[in-house]
């Protein structure tokens, strides 16, 4: 296995006004590794992956993708870096002006210039890969259930066979059975592609199913990281409180403070 991390963050800091969201994040993700970042709502998980994608610019620190600096990259270089990524958004983020197959084929047609007919065939294949028949291909996203939208989002994320895939709260808003189906699909798709992944979630069943390694984000810092089978014996009171979902503990929610 290569010793160069696929994704590397060093001292990444991001603030909004006076609120520090990321406070010196250090994280390495090795090629083919699946890292799950856990943390409470508002802990900065989404900001972390938006900084890696260049959707937000950190004030300090360094982010490298395959050893190349990713912060402040423009033009063709940025396009090249972005072509390595796929992402499943929390709300699906499907384009509501396009049909399901057009959503899945979007990256193939617009970014890679693939012929529409050829892209449609691949889109149908990817839809089948996530358990959706060709009958949904012509539907609009607003005609789909939440679970189906997640599956279409997953099909879109893997359509270009990216090297790196981000999953943003992949099971939020789904019933436990559909959540498990999505977790299984993510695991299978990632294994098939051999992709490097970062998943952000507060769903512990996702952590146990998807992760090779877990990291916990709290108050802008990664306070613990390790293999997923050590998460139950982390020896970290914050992690223990989070994974067991206890109101009492070192993590004080704003509502309790007041």
């Amino acid at each position: 296995m290569s010793t160069t991390p696929k994704i590397s963050l060093r001292g990444v800091k991001k603030r909004f006004g006076s609120k520090i969201v990321l406070d010196g994040i250090d994280l390495d993700v090795m090629p083919g590794e699946s890292v799950v970042v856990i943390g409470g709502s508002g802990s900065g998980k989404s900001v972390l992956i938006k900084c890696i994608l260049g959707l937000m610019t950190p004030e300090e620190g360094r982010i490298t993708i395959d050893g190349a600096d990713a912060i402040g990259m423009h033009g063709k270089a940025r396009e090249k870096i972005l072509s390595k990524f796929g992402m499943l958004f929390q709300g699906g983020a499907l384009f509501d002006s396009l049909t399901v197959w057009q959503n899945v084929a979007f990256g193939l047609i617009e970014a890679r210039g693939m012929d529409k007919d050829e892209a449609r065939v691949i889109a149908i294949e990817k839809l089948a890969r996530v358990g959706l028949g060709s009958d949904v291909a012509e539907l609009r996203p607003d005609e789909l259930s939440g679970g189906m939208q997640k599956r279409v989002g997953l099909a879109r994320a893997i359509a270009t066979e990216p090297e790196i895939i981000f999953f943003d709260e992949p099971t939020t808003g789904l019933d436990p059975i559909m959540a498990d189906v999505i977790n299984d699909l993510i695991t299978e798709c990632v294994r098939d592609l051999g992709a490097t992944t970062i998943t952000i979630t507060h769903d512990m069943s996702s952590v146990r199913k998807i992760a090779d390694r877990a990291a916990m984000l709290y108050k802008g810092k990664i306070i613990w990281q390790g293999p997923k089978d050590q998460i139950d014996n982390s020896g970290n009171a914050y992690v223990d409180q989070f994974i067991h979902g206890h109101a009492e503990g070192p993590i004080q929610m704003d509502i309790l403070k007041s």
Binding site: K50, L53, G54, L55, E79, L82, S83, F85, G86, M87, F89, Q90, G91, A93, L94, F95, D96, F106, G107, E110, A111, R156, T160, F166
Partner: protein, 261 residues
């Protein structure tokens, strides 16, 4: 003393916020324009936007123009009768419509219809992360969303204004010939005689500038919206209000420069 300090502090905050907003719009405009001259251009999307902006605006622009042209002819007839100059109706109507009312009314109507729709669509895409999704699919949102709207709006508004001018003049013609007793032949002859090429050119220049403003304001406010449904609503309102004000200001500047001597 404290009240005075507070007054100046408030004034200063507004002034700085205003400057920041102008700078933000200028930066957005510069980025959008730089993408306008660099490939790829999505011609399919430009065509679709031209249909949305132009063809679907025809009814509202046409109705506005015909009613305004007709009312204008009636008003000018009554006003000019005070000094026995009823014969000027055709000339004043065509100059007023082509130079001012055609482009301004078409611009305002399209701004109301299109800027708001652009801001709402793009704002919804922003808050539902569809714009972020575009980026992760290696597609530049400026090129995919904003450039086609700018091109389509700049190209379509002059066509709409030509239609508005023709319909507006026709509205005046209808009232003049059917109600006020003008001869159709004489009315049309006077209309053609008094219309100069500078009138038409100014009309088209204004239309193109208004088209740019409409797409720019709709895109700017939509693209930068935040805060969920309320944010999208605010972006929509801001897009229409700022487009209206900028169209009226641009109209004044162009008019003074072209006809100020």
């Amino acid at each position: 003393m404290n009240a005075l300090v507070e007054f100046f502090a408030t004034f200063g905050r507004f002034f700085i916020a205003g400057l920041a907003a102008v700078g933000d719009v200028a930066r957005f405009t510069a980025i959008a324009l730089s993408h306008c001259v660099r490939p790829p251009l999505y011609f399919r999307l430009i065509g679709r936007q031209m249909l949305h902006i132009g063809y679907f605006s025809l009814p509202v622009v046409g109705m506005t123009a015909i009613f305004t042209g007709a009312a204008l002819a009636q008003q000018i007839y009554v006003g000019s009768a005070r000094f026995n100059a009823e014969g000027t109706v055709a000339a004043v109507v065509v100059i007023a419509i082509v130079r001012e009312l055609g482009p301004v009314l078409a611009g305002l109507m399209v701004a109301g219809r299109v800027s708001s729709a652009m801001a709402a669509e793009m704002g919804t895409m922003r808050v539902t992360e569809q714009i972020d999704a575009l980026v992760t699919l290696s597609t530049d949102p400026y090129k995919y969303l904003i450039v086609p709207r700018l091109y389509a709006s700049v190209l379509t508004l002059p066509l709409l204004v030509i239609v508005a001018n023709l319909i507006g003049v026709f509205g005046g013609f209808l009232i003049a010939t059917q109600k006020l007793g003008f001869s159709p032949t004489t009315y049309l002859q006077v209309t053609v005689d008094f219309l100069e090429s500078v009138d038409v050119v100014s009309s088209l220049v204004k239309a193109a500038v208004f088209g740019f403003i409409i797409a720019l304001m709709g895109s700017y406010h939509g693209y930068n919206s935040s805060g969920g449904a309320q944010g999208v609503g605010k972006a929509t309102t801001n897009a229409v209000v700022s487009a209206f004000i900028m169209i009226l200001l641009a109209n004044l500047i162009i008019t003074v420069n072209l006809f100020g001597t």
